[in-house]
């Protein structure tokens, strides 16, 4: 039957509609898991609330399993799926900057909009900061052009780097994620916090 989208079994427009529905589902899960609270996000850092870790890792392994099974049935060509290219140094520096912003602001870009949409003022301030950051980055782009483009690694997959098949790597990630979930729940009991 071939890739569903490429062969027109799912049309371009239906594809967009599905993306819209999946996006709303994702937003719904974010909001209903309490992600619009900045304390919830900061909780990952302090160890009293690991919901963020659990939700995002669940999303990752669900998507991973879904894509592998779709590929197995021949409904999806994994080679056609866009993989963000890796620029190692900017990934590390950007990760540190974003992580710091996460702890200080208590939001990540997506959840700040979720928070702002239900009227949280700290989320709106966070969005303001986000735009200041965007302006500084884009206006000063020539300054960090070299750094931004340094250590280009292409679009490597974890399975390729480890020399495993996609399925084996997926199993490893699932086991690691479930291990992490149990460690996270242990941490929640270890560093409890009342009333947040």
């Amino acid at each position: 039957m071939g890739p569903l989208v490429v062969n027109g079994i799912i049309s371009e427009n239906t594809n967009l509609l599905l993306a819209f529905i999946i996006g709303i589902g994702f937003g719904f899960v974010l909001e209903s898991s309490g992600f619009s609270s900045s304390r919830k996000l900061a909780g990952v850092f302090y160890g009293y609330d690991m919901v963020v870790l659990k939700v995002f890792f669940t999303a990752a392994i669900t998507a991973m399993l879904g894509m592998l099974f779709l590929s197995l049935f021949g409904w999806l060509d994994l080679d056609l799926v866009y993989v963000n290219p890796t620029y190692l140094s900017s990934a590390i520096i950007g990760g540190v900057v974003m992580g710091a912003g996460f702890i200080i602001g208590g939001f990540c870009p997506g959840t700040s909009f979720a928070g702002a949409s239900i009227g949280k003022i700290d989320a709106m301030v966070f969005i303001g900061g986000l735009f200041i950051g965007v302006i500084i980055f884009s206006e000063g782009y020539p300054l960090w052009d070299n750094l931004y483009m340094a250590a280009f690694k292409g679009s490597p997959k974890l399975s390729e780097s480890l020399g495993l098949s996609d399925g084996l790597a997926a199993l490893g990630i699932i086991l690691a994620a479930i291990g992490m979930f149990y460690v996270a729940e242990w941490a929640e009991k270890k560093f409890p916090r009342e009333e947040y």
Binding site: L65, S71, L72, D79, Y82, C108, L171, L175
Partner: protein, 208 residues
């Protein structure tokens, strides 16, 4: 049993299945129809006879000529260094290593350019790279390189230079242009064709 235990077990179960089954490595289609149309419209695949002659004279090792006519025709006449992959036999597994590679420029040719173009479209659709078509095929090759027409003496210099080049190339490649001319075989032509790259995919942004 707790819900989380059931959930953990079922996810690990799915993981075990996906780890145990062989990976699906068949890729029925690599290019979308509209991408292919875009490339065909851009005529990026065409390789002019002059460029090819230049490369053949310089014995450019990156050129791999592929004759898509049938075997009889191939044996009667073929371009130097060409291999014969008849169009009807194109999808045979034994040609896969030659067609699906990233090192050489595969240039298809036939009598005209229709069959070569068909071969190009099929192999492009399979997702192979570095594929070209000899513009106008052998007919145009014979017309331009083997028996070039002398332009009028009032023609622009470029045309006269091109004629000299074709004469020299024709005789070097065993054509009918009998008169030996010591014309330099370069006129800045034969600029390397840009290797066809897949059109950049749309950037998707992820994250939370």
């Amino acid at each position: 049993m707790q819900a989380r235990v059931i959930l953990s077990i079922s996810i690990v179960g799915l993981g075990l299945i996906i780890a145990a089954v062989p990976q699906n490595t068949t890729h029925p289609y690599k290019l979308t129809v509209s991408q292919l149309l875009e490339e065909a419209k851009g005529r990026q695949q065409f390789f002019s006879p002059d460029e090819l002659a230049d490369k053949l004279i310089n014995k450019d090792p990156s050129v791999q000529l592929i004759d898509v006519r049938d075997q009889d025709d191939f044996e009667k006449f073929s371009l130097p260094g060409a291999i014969n992959i008849p169009l009807t036999d194109l999808l045979n597994d034994k040609w896969k290593d030659i067609l699906d590679q990233d090192v050489k420029m595969n240039i298809f040719y036939s009598n005209g350019s229709i069959e070569a173009n068909e071969a190009w479209m099929i192999t492009r659709q399979l997702g192979y790279n570095n594929l070209f078509v000899l513009e106008g095929g052998l007919n145009y090759w014979v017309e331009t390189i083997m028996n070039p027409q002398k332009p009028a003496s009032t023609a622009p210099n470029e045309e006269l230079a091109r004629y000299d080049f074709r004469q020299a190339a024709g005789s070097a490649l065993g054509g009918g242009g009998a008169i030996q001319l010591a014309a330099p075989a370069d006129q800045g032509r034969g600029a390397k064709p840009a290797l066809i790259k897949k059109p950049g995919k749309k950037k998707a942004s992820g994250g939370c």
